[in-house]
Each structure stands twice: as structure tokens, then as C-alpha cells.
């Protein structure tokens, strides 16, 4: 009995903290004849509950294109994005369901991909911030894994998209600088294992669906060293990214 009481107190304390921490959730009014609630956030999950017209639906949070909602009587389920976008605020204004980011005018990009750098396998990841619709500043960190050596390359540069309105395939060009660190695998060891480098790039980018996109790039690197010479390297890569 004492244990039960302790559990009850603990539960209550938890509830208090939860309700204290929780923000006021968004409440929407159903305007369609009904709003379907699925048992899971996916198209195949069965409809388990229906909220009628003029009833209030509480939106808890979202996951991809699905929204976790609560019916007036407390039943919870998942509503489709398109269905929820047809509801209204109590003031009559349309529901604040954010639209998909516009691909032409998106600001952020995060992606990863595979490539070949100086005949070595390349794992690449990048982040990108759009200064305008056509000029982006991009930072790339990548690891080239070869039989003779491994390299870590970090670069920062500017990328220009010639025609951002072209959705499916649009050419790009870029320029930038960076740093390369070489970890030797087979002798002879490189004379200098840390180099500065610069690059020019040509590429293509395109929209896939929703917030999903692809990119392909070719880069020509000039690696500077203290021997008063420079090394020319080539890289190509293909990646997938999400944009915001």
C-alpha cells in the first residue's frame, strides 16, 4: 500500500513537471466533414478515430508529414498533413501548417555522399547556407580512404547556381579554399602532411521530392606545399541532401 502511494506521488510529481514544462498546445477546428486519426504516422496505418466537423483538435507535435493529435475526448492518433492543413484556428484563420520549403528559395542544405578524390574512395558531408537564391556559402568535410594514404579534407567556399528556377537539373560552379591532412599508410611518407588547398568546381543539383535533393560535383584542387610546387588533384562526388 505504501509502495502504491509512493508510485502515485511519483506519478503526480511527474505529471506536474510535464504539465509545467509543456507549452500551450495548438488547437484547431475541423472544417471538413471529419478528420481521420490513424494509429501510426504512415499511410498504411488504420484509421482508429474520427473527429467531426466543428470539433476541436489539439496538435501535439509532428513527425515528417504526420501530426500527432488529440481529439476532444482525449483519444490520440496521427493526422495527415494535408488533412490538418484544411482545418482553421479558432479565430477563423487558416491552420499554421508550414508549407514545404520552396526549393528555389531554400536557405539551408545538409547532405552526404560518395565520391572519388585522387583515385581514393571518398566519404563526404556538407552544410550549405544560401546568401541569395543563387549564391551559397558551403562548408565540406570529407575523408578520402585509399591504399597509399588517407586524407581528411575540410573546405569552405562559394557556390553559384546559374538558374535556380530550374528545378530538376540546374548547373552550379564554385570556388573555395581549405585544408588537407594526410595520414600515410604505405611508405614513402609524404614530405608534408598538412597542406592548404584551393579549388574550383562545376556541378549539378536537382530536386527530388518534398525537402529532398541530389547533387553531383566535380572539383579541381590545387594543393600548396612548402616545396615551391603545387599538386593538382581531381575529385568527383554524388550526394543526397535535405533542404530547409
Amino acid at each position: 500500500m505504501r509502495r502504491l502511494l509512493a508510485y502515485a506521488l511519483l506519478l503526480q510529481a511527474l505529471m506536474v513537471t510535464l504539465s509545467f514544462g509543456a507549452e500551450h498546445p495548438l488547437e484547431l477546428i475541423v472544417t471538413a466533414p471529419f478528420l481521420e486519426m490513424h494509429s501510426g504516422p504512415g499511410r498504411g496505418y488504420p484509421v482508429v478515430y474520427v473527429i467531426g466537423r466543428d470539433e476541436t483538435v489539439t496538435v501535439l507535435y509532428s513527425r515528417t508529414d504526420w501530426y500527432k493529435v488529440r481529439a476532444p475526448r482525449g483519444e490520440e492518433g496521427w493526422a495527415r498533413r494535408a488533412d490538418l492543413a484544411a482545418t482553421v484556428l479558432p479565430s477563423g484563420a487558416p491552420a499554421p501548417i508550414p508549407p514545404y520549403p520552396d526549393f528555389t528559395a531554400h536557405r539551408f542544405e545538409v547532405g552526404a555522399g560518395y565520391g572519388v578524390y585522387n583515385h581514393e574512395n571518398l566519404v563526404t558531408a556538407y552544410g550549405d547556407f544560401g546568401l541569395t537564391n543563387s549564391i551559397d556559402i558551403e562548408g565540406v568535410i570529407e575523408q578520402a580512404l585509399g591504399t597509399l594514404d588517407n586524407r581528411v579534407i575540410a573546405t569552405i567556399g562559394l557556390r553559384h547556381t546559374f538558374i535556380p528556377e530550374w528545378k530538376w537539373v540546374s548547373p552550379t560552379a564554385g570556388i573555395g579554399t581549405g585544408y588537407q591532412h594526410i595520414v600515410d599508410k604505405e611508405p614513402p611518407a609524404p614530405r608534408q602532411s598538412d597542406n592548404q588547398l584551393a579549388y574550383v568546381s562545376l556541378g549539378v543539383r536537382g530536386f527530388i521530392t518534398r525537402r529532398f535533393m541530389w547533387r553531383a560535383d566535380w572539383r579541381h584542387y590545387v594543393v600548396f606545399n612548402n616545396l615551391n610546387t603545387y599538386e593538382d588533384l581531381e575529385e568527383w562526388k554524388f550526394g543526397l541532401a535535405v533542404f530547409f
Binding site: 507535435y61 515528417t64 501530426y67 499554421p96 566519404v123 588517407n150 518534398r210 543526397l240
Partner: protein
């Protein structure tokens, strides 16, 4: 009644007649504007409009967690492995996932048979990897436990690449995986995964591709 109606009609006719005479003097809308200027308002509303802030909907598209299991390092036995994972769900079907894991290799059968031979130094037995994967939920569904409980689940496949550091060198590794995500609640998930890290090595003599298969059990939370 009829008199009232006819007087209204008369008034309307007179008014339209007046406007007919004023035709060309000044535009009609100016007259209307003057009228509203002179009209005194009876009640001046003193209430400032309250700014209603619409609450934002929190997106919970990220999944973070840890896992533990067994990794079979080819030629080096089966050993415990543990790691962390982070996923971003792009749509209900597609997700990006990153893994960071570590294990420690055992001995090869050659080393067991001839204890004087060392294939890999003790420090080189540490097996660490990172993976960048693309995942696809192939079979979403529900799992039933008993009569009254159903859990959402997804069977997914992943493909990706990364780096394996073994015998103190980094190798490029491809990895393929199959996993099951069982949602205990909407924000807590149990994962069962089988993944293969494939890379090329010449540690045991000839150069060959080795398969390093791991089976893990993990717990993740959505945020």
C-alpha cells in the same frame, strides 16, 4: 404603408436628381468622403488589440540512441560492440542515419594455434567505425503482443558507407543493413539490427574483402 414606401421612392428619386445637377462639378466619391468626415463617431474604442500568438508545432524528426550487440570481425572472432546512432526522418519512408561504434577484436585461429605469432598488435585490435546511411522503411506495420497491445513497427533497409579503423589503419567500408524499429511509445523505440561492414584488407595474407556482420539491440528516442 404605401405612403411611406412612395415617400422613400420620392426621396431616392430626388437624391438621384440632385446628383444629376452636380454632374461634372466634382467626382461623386469626394462627396461621400466629406460625409464620413463630418460624421461624428459615438463610441471611441479604447481597447488595444491583443496579439494572439499561435503556438508553434514541434517537429520531432530526429531519433537518437545507443545500441549494444555482437560484431563478428572476420578471422578475429565474435566480440561485443556498442555505439551511438542519430537519424533524421525526411519522410515516412526515407531517413538518413549516422552510426559511431566500437569493438575489440579477439585472436585469429593462427594466433590461437601459434601464440608467438602476432597478426595485429594489441592496440590495433580496437575496431571503430562510422557509417553514413540512407534508410528506407520497407515494411511498416503493427506488432501484436497478446490480445490488448499493439505496437507500431517498421522493417527497414539501410545502405551506406563509412570508415573502419582496424589494425591502426582506416579503410573505406560499405555497409548494408536490415533492421526492425519497434515503437514502445510514440517517442521511444526499440531497434533490432543486422549490419554488414564490408572492406578490403590484406591483414591475413592475401588481399580480400571481409564481411563484418553485427547484430545489435538498441534503444532510441525521437526529439
Amino acid at each position: 404603408m404605401e405612403i411611406r414606401l412612395s415617400s422613400i421612392l420620392l426621396a431616392a428619386a430626388l437624391l438621384s436628381g440632385c446628383s444629376w445637377f452636380h454632374r461634372g462639378e466634382k467626382p461623386q466619391n469626394q462627396v461621400v468622403a466629406e460625409d464620413t468626415d463630418t460624421d461624428p463617431s459615438i463610441i471611441e474604442p479604447q481597447v488595444t488589440r491583443r496579439e494572439v500568438k499561435t503556438p508553434k508545432i514541434k517537429a520531432k524528426d530526429f531519433e537518437i540512441g545507443a545500441y549494444f550487440g555482437a560484431l563478428s570481425i572476420q578471422d578475429f572472432g565474435v566480440n561485443p560492440v556498442y555505439g551511438v546512432r542519430l537519424a533524421y526522418h525526411v519522410s515516412e519512408d526515407v531517413f538518413f542515419e549516422g552510426f559511431l561504434g566500437t569493438s575489440k577484436a579477439g585472436t585469429t585461429s593462427l594466433e590461437d594455434e601459434f601464440p608467438d605469432i602476432t597478426v595485429v598488435s594489441n592496440a590495433g585490435r580496437r575496431f571503430t567505425y562510422y557509417d553514413l546511411d540512407l534508410g528506407y522503411n520497407v515494411l511498416p506495420g503493427e506488432v501484436f503482443i497478446g490480445r490488448g497491445r499493439a505496437f507500431n513497427s517498421q522493417l527497414y533497409v539501410t545502405v551506406g558507407m563509412g570508415d573502419v579503423k582496424f589494425a591502426e589503419t582506416d579503410q573505406f567500408a560499405l555497409n548494408v543493413g536490415l533492421g526492425e524499429r519497434l515503437l514502445i511509445t510514440d517517442w521511444l523505440a526499440l531497434h533490432l539490427d543486422v549490419r554488414d561492414h564490408i572492406f578490403e584488407t590484406s591483414l591475413t595474407g592475401r588481399t580480400k574483402n571481409v564481411d563484418n556482420i553485427e547484430a545489435t539491440l538498441g534503444l532510441t528516442t525521437f526529439f
